[in-house]
Amino acid sequence: MAHAYTPGLKVSTGYLLRKRRILPLRGDVSVTVGQTVLPDDVVARTALPGNAKLVNVAGLLSISPEEVKDAMLKKPGDPVTEGDVIATAKSFFGLFKSVAKADMTGTIEDVNAVTGQVLLRGAPIPVEVRAYVRGTVTEIVPSEGCVVETFGTFVQGIFGIGGETHGRVAMACSSPSQHLTDDLIKPEHKGCVVVGGNLVTAKALKKAIQIGVKAVVSGGFHDQDLKEFLGYDLGVAITGHEKLGVTLVVTEGFGEIDMARKTFDLLAAHVGEECSVNGATQIRAGVIRPEVVIPAPSAKVAATGDTGPKPLEIGSVIRIIRSPYFGRIGKVALLPSEPTVLGSESRARILHVRLENDTEDRVVPRANVEMIED
């Protein structure tokens, strides 16, 4: 059977991270194995077929679709510039001349005798994939991209918005239980990845955009503020494409939740260091979580890559991820194997947990806890 608990988010130092940097279509890879790369270095590029437009030549010239081929001044494959006349026809005993013009620059791709339409194709659209993290190219995926490896600190968030960016780590809050309010965002945070505490407000995010902060990392965020910040109510958790001027990584969840002490301390230990951040989140099959990567290429590797989820054991440190103890951290005290009836009257496998600063064990469904992994 499946592990009946959620493997936790990674928060690790001395972590070996492999990032696949792959083009959406086949193209050219511009790096070699062993090469050191910086976040903004282009590692692969290609060109998407250009935008396409259909010109209704038959309609414009008032001729039948079959006559369009004869009326064409250009043939498939010919380049055209916006405004070029591509077809002409004479009407009313040759007294008037109608013209059809290209409404974009590109090439003629197709002339159709059934629809009377001509397909124009614009210039290819260049697509570049950047390294995103400072590291070393360890593998080339021919015609597609490469794998960039880096050692360092890796913090996975639970939810984010905004795409890939990078900047220096700056602490705006002095404790994981402090609100990140707009007055704590200072001009010196320009270009930085700013770390908050238990909550970031929409007002603080707007200030961060004004100042030019690259990314904000916070323990919690109110959904009400998310709605205000995005300008719409987020329905499905597929994010990363937002162009709001700042990337946000929420480490714990929605609401006012202290950032895990370990996460906060780890980020605080790297103040001033360059880090890469991606807010992209997809909570679907093939889940993608937001992340903060702080490369330290010279560091010794203590742990490598994914080793798979660890089993839940007595003594495992867990976080509760649903009410009534949402956000609390504790240690597993007992793991009974038989399902138990919960307060909701559902039967589920449970565990007993001793929460921090608590004197008695609490019962929680195993589905409602996540491991705090090393």
């Binding site: 059977m1 499946a2 959620t6 279509l25 086949r26 077929p49 935008n51 396409a52 437009k53 259909l54 679709p65 791709e109 197709d110 159709n112 059934v114 629809t115 009377g116 339409q117 397909l119 194709r121 639970i158 939810f159 109110h222 959904d223 009400q224 998310l226 709605k227 109510d233 987020l234 329905g235 499905v236 958790a237 969840g253 929605f254 609401g255 989140t281 909570i283 679907r284 099959a285 093939g286 994914d306 798979g308 991820i321 649903r322 009410s323 009534p324 949402f326 919960l342 307060g343 909701s344 009257e345 559902s346 039967r347 589920a348 929680v364 469904p365 589905a367 409602n368 996540e370």
Partner: protein
């Protein structure tokens, strides 16, 4: 593979879902087929286990252990044929792993050929990502951009009746060719496109698409305006699902070699079994499957089958979307107490980002079931607007039709004629009390007249759908005996009852001769115990203006069936109207929930 059905004693069926692979064992016991054991394991289509057969074998191993029957040999092969202690006679499977089958459809007119194409795709078990048509108010370059972005598994192109205009459908082919679409899975093969439009345009369609896509031509799905011919397109979709889409998914070529019949898309299998049952029993039926990401609704009315997928209405991944689409007020109208909005919004988003969590306390359960009612309600609205008579068909009318206002495009879903409503999916199947499942169905679907309620005990409808392909008898026997758990019957007059007045009077004669008589007041829900397998004779005489299936004000006498919950009389009127004042609404909800023993009294009196 032709297998003599008489020689089949043990059937093994799996359903590879997006998160869990479920296996069931069907065995012939004393001459009848019964579902005997069930196992499950995580689906393995993603790193680090990119091979679906691993999850299949894990789930089969669990079934084998529970059954005390070795199903897999030392080489990891499913043992066939069955002996007294080992193996099975046939192994079959459905799949929705990797997001299922994702299609785009294109047709000339939205309400006509495009809608027929959409029906064909949905009926074949796909998710329709978008519908492109000549009148969708998008410019060609916007349509082209959309096709490029979505990267479907395949495209179904239709348009024009046979012998009709060609230019519009060829224009659509041009748009598809211009997009030069890339398939979602695998970058080295061409996207399959099925053409099922005007046969006179085939040559031109081939000119446009044959060199850029893998083009398949089948009979027109709307050969004349008055008739749909969806079967050829549906069959081709199934073939391509196997040959192209599944073959690209991790481990599927191995799975295809393991099964004794083609793998079916999960929803197609569910649709097949529902149609089979409706046909055999001569009933109208609706089934719903509410999952984490999507809600599927299936209906069979007068033999016509329809299926819709509400892609972003679900209870975990899509829960936030249900909240966004329904709105706070609509969700809260099902909650018998006040909750703080900021806290509510955060709890919905927290469920979305951690979709596997379950309600631990009663308050969370009540709130989650309130959201489920809205997800089901919205999905059913979509279904009703889609399951319609053919649009654009001119109707010949006689003098006798003068007062019949029905027109083309009218919904086929007539709730007064619905006989059976079947629930499946986690929130419905695993609700701690059966009365909760019943109330979710009643509140969300608002059944009218006399309607039987049931739930799929362990969500085995997909398995039975694929079993029906090879052994219809086994499938229907198991469906009747092991799949459905009947909850009871709901009787609800349709129309707007007057506050404080009777909606009608009833007389129920139970099998033991006991008689219950009374009046059903407006806004009231009454409940009578009537056990599984029990029946009673009931007469309902609706008040003037109200209807229970016999016409306004006309009494109806029917045999009503019991179930694990019993018999409900719902006097809240149809369309369902809840009191608008908060205090009245809470009082009415609390009364109904108390009558039906839906939640413990302590949860309703906080």
């Amino acid at each position: 593979m032709a297998i003599d059905p008489e020689k089949i004693n043990v059937i093994l069926a799996t359903d590879c879902g997006s998160t869990t692979t479920k296996a069931i064992l069907i065995q012939k016991i004393n001459g009848e087929y019964r579902q005997t054991h069930r196992g499950e394991a995580p689906t393995t289509v993603e790193a680090p286990f990119e091979d679906v057969t691993m999850g299949v074998l894990n789930s089969v191993t669990e079934v084998g252990e529970l059954a005390g029957r070795r199903l897999i040999d030392e080489n990891g092969k499913i043992i066939r044929p069955a002996t007294a202690t080992e193996g099975c006679d046939i192994y079959i499977s459905t799949s929705s792993a990797g997001g299922g089958l994702q299609m785009m459809v294109a047709g000339v007119v939205r309400k006509m050929t495009a809608e027929s194409a959409e029906r064909a795709a949905l009926g074949a078990g796909s998710i329709v990502m978008d519908v492109i048509c000549a009148n969708d108010n998008r410019l060609p370059h916007e349509q082209i951009e959309r096709i490029r972005q979505l990267r479907p598994d395949m495209i179904l192109l239709s348009g024009g009746i046979d012998g009709g205009t060609k230019s519009h459908v060829v224009e659509l082919a041009q748009v598809i060719a211009a997009a030069n679409p890339r398939p979602r899975l695998g970058s080295d093969y061409k996207l399959p496109v099925i053409y099922a439009g005007n046969k006179d345009a085939r040559e031109h369609i081939e000119e446009e698409l044959a060199h850029k896509t893998e083009l398949f031509v089948v009979d027109n799905l709307r050969p004349v305006l008055e008739r749909e011919n969806l079967a050829p397109a549906r069959e081709k979709i199934h073939d391509l699902f196997m040959e192209h889409v599944m073959a690209q998914a991790p481990g599927y070529s191995k799975l295809m070699a393991m099964t004794d019949a083609p793998i079916m898309p999960t929803p197609a299998a569910v649709g097949d079994i529902l149609q089979e049952i409706a046909r055999q029993q001569g009933i109208n039926a609706v089934a719903v499957d509410i999952g984490g990401a999507t809600t599927d609704v299936f209906s069979v009315f007068d033999g016509e089958f329809n299926r819709t997928v509400s892609a972003n209405l679900g209870m975990s991944y899509s829960i936030s979307n249900v909240f966004a689409e329904a709105g706070l007020d609509n969700v809260m109208r099902w909650v018998p107490f006040d909750m703080d909005e900021v806290e509510l919004r955060n709890s919905v988003k927290n469920k979305m980002i951690r979709p596997t969590t379950i309600p631990q306390d009663m308050e969370s359960l009540i709130f989650e079931q309130a959201i489920a009612k809205e997800a089901l309600r919205l999905a059913f609205i979509q279904h009703k607007s889609f399951a319609t008579r053919l649009k654009g068909v001119q109707q010949q009318r006689t003098i006798g039709d003068t007062f019949d206002q029905s027109s083309s495009g009218e919904t086929l879903v007539n709730m007064l004629k619905l006989d059976l409503l079947v629930a499946s999916g986690g929130v419905l199947s695993h609700a701690p009390r059966m009365s909760q499942t019943a109330l979710m169905l009643i509140d969300a679907f608002a059944p009218e007249g006399f309607t039987r309620l049931a739930k799929d005990s362990i969500f085995m409808m997909p398995h039975l759908g694929v079993t029906a392909q090879v052994h219809p008898k086994a499938a229907t026997e198991v469906f009747e005996k092991d799949c459905l758990i009947y909850l009871g019957t709901v009787v609800a007059p349709t129309g707007a009852p007057k506050a404080g007045k009777e909606t009608g009077s009833f007389e129920i004669t139970f099998a033991d001769g006991r008689v219950e008589k009374g009046a059903l007041m407006a806004g009231e829900i009454k409940f009578f115990p009537l056990g599984a397998g029990e029946t009673a004779k009931m007469t309902f005489s609706p008040a003037r203006g109200l209807d229970v299936g016999g016409g306004k004000g006309a009494a109806v006498t029917r045999e009503v069936h019991g179930g694990t919950v019993g018999l409900f009389l719902d006097g809240r009127g149809r369309p369902l109207e809840l009191p608008t004042a908060v205090a009245d609404r809470v009082r009415s909800l609390t009364a109904g929930m108390t009558t039906l023993d839906v939640y413990p009294a302590s949860a309703l009196t906080r």
